[in-house]
């Protein structure tokens, strides 16, 4: 048992190192976080936080009373998150493994550079490009029509909306997301791999028993962080394409906040939903972290 004094002596340099970061967080995150009191006010900019009247839980009404429009947004958000965790999350890992296995260093670098480029396009451009190619009046359909084939409808079909935005996300971010896995893969011990080859393990077995386990902790970490972010799914991407399918199929929490809060100057509603998202996010991170511990992983933090 170390006394407080001893611990201080031992760790004071660490605390000093943490100081700039912690100060920045306190000043620019925690201080304004208090402004979330707006969630309990009928906030008017000209009255400011100090003079806007309090309205208790009024801004939380849609959430508490289960307003169907809000619930629809919530359900859409959860479905999209589920799809993305199951189908989109593993893809960069696979791609990273493929890239990693590429022998030619130059080829590897070249393909990497190409594949991560879409990340830099803003959603406005990506959506415009997508519609140009796959829209009902776009290039693909124009060609199909002139060849007398039936047209390919994905834009403007409510049932396919979630599939469509998922494919857009895959195109845009898969390459970029490999970066962090590649960094992790660069740490895999070549000696271990050599030993496995000598033992006669096939490529697949080497993958499963040597490579993957060494990046397992990174995968788990990122998964937990991704889950904590579950309720935020692509605002800009969706708001740009919402009018094609209507709110029923496309409204998510962030667009709900925009359409029903910010557009009408309802800052209180926006803050209220933000708080709800935060609370749910905390629960998800705690839960996922605990599950990670059960699997023997460190997770985001340990006891």
């Amino acid at each position: 048992m170390h006394s407080l004094r001893n611990r201080w002596r031992r760790d004071r340099v660490l605390l000093l190192l943490a100081l700039p970061g912690v100060t920045a967080l306190l000043l620019f995150h925690y201080l304004p976080l208090g402004g979330n009191i707006i969630a309990f006010q009928d906030f008017q900019p000209f009255l400011g936080i100090w003079h806007s009247p309090y309205v208790g839980l009024d801004n939380f009404e849609p959430v508490l009373t289960g307003d169907p429009v809000f619930l629809n947004a919530l359900v859409n958000t959860l479905i999209i998150t589920l799809i993305q965790v199951v189908f989109v999350f593993p893809l960069p890992i696979c791609l990273a493994l493929i890239l990693n296995a590429t022998i030619s260093e130059r080829l590897k670098r070249l393909t990497q550079s190409i594949l991560y480029m879409p990340h830099f396009l803003s959603w406005v451009i990506v959506v415009a490009l997508f519609q140009q190619m796959f829209g009902n009046g776009g290039m693909l359909n124009g060609w199909l029509r002139s060849a007398d084939l039936s047209t390919f409808h994905i834009v403007g079909v409510p049932e396919l909306f979630k599939l469509m935005i998922t494919s857009q996300v895959i195109w845009k971010d898969t390459g970029w997301s490999t970066i962090i896995f590649l960094a992790a893969l660069s740490r895999v011990d070549p000696a271990q791999l050599e030993a496995a080859v000598v033992d006669g393990a096939s490529a697949l077995r080497r993958l499963w028993h040597v490579t993957l386990p060494s990046i397992r902790s990174v995968i788990v970490l990122l998964l937990i962080l991704r889950l904590g972010d579950s309720l935020s799914v692509g605002f800009e991407q969706i708001i740009l394409q919402q009018a094609q399918v209507g709110a029923g199929a496309s409204e998510v929490l962030d667009t709900y906040v925009y359409n029903h809060g910010i557009v009408g100057g309802d800052w209180g509603t926006a803050a209220a939903v933000g708080l709800i998202k935060g609370i749910v996010g905390v629960a998800l991170v705690l839960g996922a972290n605990r599950a990670a511990h059960a699997l023997g992983e460190q997770g985001v933090y340990t006891k």
């Binding site: 008017q44 900019p45 429009v69 519609q131 403007g156 094609q244 209507g246 029923g248 910010i262 309802d266």
Partner: protein
């Protein structure tokens, strides 16, 4: 949007098919004190200002004057406004202009104006956030452009900005001759709680236009003005060739179909959706004509004459379709008419006209949805310094200099030989001039719009003809000058849901019968309250 109109006024507005005397009329009622606390405010006296005689006269009232060439002589410049620099916050729909240091146009403007203009501005998409944070922060520039309606508007204005009534009401405005030339209806939109809060940036009366590729219609042998619903549909079908990738419309022409059924309204958003008769307000969404319009719309959509990617397409896309001939129609604000020509320089035979909505069977009076009276109004930050207020008003007055004056030259074109050259009598911006004049001075204050297309007399005529035909048909918006707190603060969410249902019906995802319960819900939630508020104000 404040003051009470007398009952008689509302009736007069509602009954008039044309706007004739009302637009030119000075002030309001006449019976109220200029104090305004007990009665309707006296709007600024209207005294039109012209620096050059137009080739196409501004008649009937509400039509913009047309100029086929730029006037050769400009009058003498007015006195510069002396005083300390003036700061302003506004929005822009254009790319940004170079900074003052690299902007000779701006430097010249400051010089002629006599006062240094310091303008902060953002893209219009971000403007709402910028204004909200600026007001919340408390440190306002001298002038702020107020766009749209804010929650608790009267209280917000009272707390944050200067009441300008004593400087502008009635004949007081004559001290600022250019301001007196702004249309009365535009002033009406800057009045809240019987006080005048700012200088309006006026817009043409004509409202949203069904832009037509007249050259494509001529090629197909079609009339530029169909006279019935059937003819309209046939025209649309004739212009559509799916295999060739051509469709008639770039979006669903819902407001056109509404007008054809005899009612007005700009959807989504529900602007101009209220009618008034004998002091009773009705939301057009509750009328049987609206339901009929929905039927018609679904029928039109089903006939396949609308571009399949129309939903949610950005305006740049729709305009590109128009220019490429992919579509023959697009609906847009009148203010954008001129810009098409700049982009269409390489489209041979390009001719743009505006189409009016026919009546269903060709008989009876056609109607038209009125446009907004202003783009925004410019308010002055709260201050007690009367001299400062007068200086700022003089600056705004200068910015409203009429077409053809030398101030206008400095405002729109800059310095001859440097930022523009002359092509005959028409000024042409140089490349530098083009980017420098993007400074959004015109979103602070400007004179009433005129029709002028350098080197394109046909375009001027087309716009003028459209206005002459369309302006008298505009049905005045009875809510002009009225303010409903419910509409300003609680309606946004309900309106979103209503728009959502409308969209789903138009896209075919929901049946037309889904409209009745949706509009009923809207009226129950906010609509009836809004109705009561308008009626109370109108009846006073």
């Amino acid at each position: 949007m404040a003051p009470t109109l007398s009952r008689r006024r509302v009736l007069a507005l509602g009954a008039a098919a044309g706007l004739g005397p009302l637009l030119g009329a000075c002030g309001d009622g006449g019976s109220s004190s200029s104090n305004g606390s007990t009665g309707p405010v006296k709007l600024p006296t209207y005294k039109p200002v012209t620096a050059a005689t137009p080739d196409l006269a501004a008649e009937p009232a509400g039509v913009s004057p047309g100029y086929l060439t730029y006037p050769t002589a400009s009058g003498a410049a007015s006195e510069p406004v002396r005083g300390e620099a003036v700061t302003a916050l506004t929005y822009t729909y254009d790319p940004i202009a170079p900074a003052l240091g690299s902007n000779p146009y701006w430097q010249n403007l400051n010089d002629k104006l006599g006062t240094e203009l310091k303008i902060t501005y953002t893209a219009s998409a971000d403007y709402k956030s910028k204004v909200a944070t600026t007001i919340a922060g408390g440190d306002l520039p001298d002038m702020v452009a107020i766009q749209g309606v804010f929650q608790q508007m009267p209280a917000m204005l009272k707390a944050t900005f200067t009441d300008l009534t004593e400087y502008l009401s009635g004949d007081a405005v004559l001290a600022y001759p250019n301001l007196a030339g702004l249309p009365t209806d535009a002033w009406r939109s800057a009045v809240y709680d019987q006080r005048i809060w700012g200088i309006p940036v006026p817009r043409a009366r004509i409202g949203t236009v069904l832009y037509t590729r007249a050259d494509l219609l001529a090629k197909a042998g079609l009339s530029l003005q169909p006279t019935s619903w059937d003819e309209f549909k046939q025209m649309a079908t004739a212009l559509t060739d799916e295999r060739a990738g051509r469709w008639a419309f770039g979006q669903i022409p819902f407001s056109t179909i509404l007008e054809m059924n005899g009612i007005t309204g700009n959807w989504p958003g529900g602007a101009s959706a209220w009618q008034a008769k004998d002091g009773v307000f009705t939301h057009t969404g509750t009328t049987p004509q609206f339901a009929q319009a929905l039927q018609d719309t679904v029928e039109l959509v089903r006939s396949g004459v609308i571009h399949p990617d129309q939903a949610g397409a950005p305006n740049t896309k729709r305009n590109a379709w128009m220019l490429a001939g992919t579509t023959s129609f697009t609906i847009g604000a009148y203010a954008g008419w001129g810009k098409f020509y700049g982009q269409a320089k390489n489209v041979t035979g390009f001719r743009l006209t505006g189409m009016l909505s026919p009546t269903r069977d060709g008989t009876g009076t056609r109607v038209r949805t009125p446009g907004p009276t202003l783009s925004s109004f410019t308010a002055i930050a709260k201050t007690d310094d009367a001299d400062r207020i007068k200086q700022i008003l003089k600056v705004l007055n200068w910015l409203c200099s009429p077409f053809g004056s030398s101030e206008y030259m400095a405002l729109r074109y800059g310095v001859e030989g440097q930022t523009f050259n002359r092509n005959g009598s028409d000024p042409t911006l140089t490349e530098g001039g083009r980017s420098q004049t993007l400074l959004p001075v015109r979103y602070l204050a400007e004179a009433s719009p005129v029709i002028y297309e350098p080197g394109n007399r046909q375009a001027v005529r087309d716009q003028y003809d459209h206005q002459v035909a369309g302006v008298p048909l505009a049905v005045p918006d009875p809510t002009l000058g009225l303010y409903s707190e419910t509409a300003a603060s609680k309606a946004a969410s309900a309106q979103q849901e209503l728009d959502s249902v409308l969209l789903e019906i138009q896209l075919g995802n929901k049946p037309v019968s889904a409209w009745q319960p949706a509009i009923k819900q809207f009226m129950d939630r906010v609509g009836n309250k809004i109705k009561a508020e308008y009626e109370e104000q109108a009846g006073r």
